[in-house]
Symmetry: C2
């Protein structure tokens, strides 16, 4: 661990930007010191040994700035990368461990710094790798969801066949498809993979991985044994580092699902911005695409929040590959052009239920979806 | 899966109570149906096959009630236990997966129902088991935290020795102590365990487990190899089912830490009540004690929220053992009597930094803490 005195460079430190709501600048400075302490040494200042101060282990307040909005402040705090132990759980802990339990602190930006960007590998495939697998080099990619939960395996496999006949790029399980009695994981994966193979299409099938801690790797092996190339997984349900481990260990495309993340967005004044959680942190653990609820669908995300997620997924961060944003949540066939205008062609479009309710049937609706994308080829 | 028609008993279903904020009763009924759909089939109603309806797989709205507060409604929805696949990640998914991404829906109560209460074993030791290990059968138990992060292993071990000399029941790592270069996990655990053994006290040492997915079991084995009987672990950092797995697999006391949970409490209208998350769900995955930020400390929890957490940890739920509430977060020696009045003697009191800053030194301050508890023997 290199020695850093108080005049040391901040280049290598993890930099977190908070928007804090409080009365005045002086209080904002106190809040800043509190956060810096709480997220590292969590200890009365008088009890911090000299060695810790010398090594800059306590978070360091870099800036405290009043915003134009009364009562709102931007605070930047940097953290020594060694505080994270270079592990995902401890990155999360430093970022939003104890302060998650406070109020009026919102994380609006995260720059992990060079040593964390190079320690964590980010997405294995990213946009270019997934395009290569799908054989689609310029147009947006198209994804749909296998549902509903509670169907028989045969019925799901038949739907997968119909979607594949329509030429969809990716079929993912609905995120509620686990290892239930009505569609056991291993049976479902096998039958759906076989049904798609029958269609002779290039469609990829990505099963939902939400098994128990001691079952996850068995499920991953089942996916690989069935010749599949990717999975759907929700970091909040199985643990962020579980996703990082799978991404680094197995040659699988990772579709990240936002299940259970939303509590962190509900208060405008506290939590994390969706771009930090569904963008930077999902990419950190290897998401080649990150699904999020687009504005205008069934969920309350704003257009700005969605664009920010897309930026966090695609903007340069160390040597990490850019990932696909995947706007979803009630998108319709009629939205396709608008979605591509908003997000650009490096987007994984996800139409779920809406392809199932078209009067022309699943295969024809899927063909229409794929047809709408040919203009971007 | 037993057949259930629409007149079927609800006894065995998981029952979730939501407080919803909306304009009127009619809209509340629509919201209720939306939640029931979103958390299970997530599919346009017209596309739900008859077999799924027949088997009552879609969440079932049981009651929608207007509260005395304008715009607030209680909604109860029951879920077929098979929807959860009897796995923790999917329980979380059904509970707060997609609706976490919405707004104005707060989960205020959770009754898992008989079949889930018996499938999941809950705490291995609970209050009586941990009392047995500590040899303290009536009084509150006493816990402290080893800190600050960034200290040398020798300095942490020396502090552990001082706390143990003072006769504390449990020393836990500060939750930021991971596997960092300045206090590597294996070295720290060994040296601190040795230091405590030297003191001849019965003090238990519970190291923080926040290792990588592929490192967790190695850390657990290290804890056991050093003769230790418990761990500190944060379900949100390593995954809820990781905790369930450890609790069921290894004979270790589980201290649950609330790191990263707080985003879900920040909006009064959306998220989960602390009692559901830090009470019921922590107990579900095996927490023998659950640490939470008490009112009046450094965090904004109310007294009512803290009492509700304690109730959720100790009230009968199937055959689960009751767990210790562990109020913390800036508690002082002077609070001890008040804390016992509020929470009763079946409480694990956690004083961290405050024992370190007493002028009489750590051992004397700890003795004073233990002395204050003898009146409850």
């Amino acid at each position: 661990m290199p020695y850093e005195n108080s005049a040391g460079t901040t280049f290598d430190r993890m930099l977190v930007t908070y928007r804090v709501t409080t009365s005045d600048l002086q209080t904002a400075r106190i809040v800043a010191s509190d956060i810096a302490n709480e997220q590292t040494v969590e200890c009365p200042p008088a009890c911090i040994p000299e060695e810790i101060l010398e090594n800059a282990i306590v978070g360091r307040v870099e800036t405290v700035k009043q915003l134009d909005i009364p009562g709102k402040f931007h605070i930047e705090i940097s953290y020594h990368p060694h505080v994270t132990g270079f592990s995902v759980p401890q990155v999360l802990n430093v970022l939003f461990g104890n302060i998650s339990l406070k109020n009026n602190v919102r994380i609006i930006d995260l720059n992990l710094g060079e040593s964390l960007y190079s320690h964590f590998l980010g997405p294995r495939y990213g946009i270019s790798g997934l395009r290569e697998i799908c054989g689609a080099h310029t147009r947006p990619l198209a994804c749909t969801a296998l549902k509903p939960l509670g169907s028989s395996v045969e019925s799901l496999a038949h739907k997968a066949y119909q979607f594949a006949l329509g030429g969809i790029d990716i079929i993912k399980d609905d995120h509620g498809l686990a290892d239930q009695s009505f569609h056991p994981f291993a049976q479902r994966v096998k039958k759906c993979a076989e049904a798609i193979a029958l269609s002779k299409s290039k469609t990829l099938y990505m099963p939902m991985i939400s098994g128990r801690f001691d079952q996850i790797e068995e499920q991953i092996k089942c996916v690989i044994d069935n010749g599949l190339k990717g999975i759907l997984i929700a970091p909040m349900l199985v643990g962020f580092d579980t996703v990082r481990y799978i991404s680094q260990t197995y040659p699988l495309v990772i579709l990240g699902h936002p299940s259970w993340t939303g509590g962190n967005f509900a208060s405008p004044d506290h939590g994390l911005d969706p771009a930090v959680l569904l963008g930077t942190l999902f990419r950190l653990v290897g998401a080649d695409a990150s699904i999020f609820p687009n504005s205008g669908g069934r969920f309350p995300f704003t257009q700005q929040e969605c664009s920010d997620i897309a930026d966090a997924l695609r903007n340069p961060k160390g040597a990490w590959k850019p990932s696909f944003p995947s706007p979803a949540g009630g998108m319709q066939l009629s939205n396709v052009t608008g979605l591509v205008e908003q997000f650009g062609p490096d987007t994984l479009l996800l139409l779920g239920g809406s392809l199932m309710e078209q009067p022309q049937g699943i295969t024809a609706a899927t063909q229409e979806f794929m047809q709408a994308l040919t203009q971007y080829e």
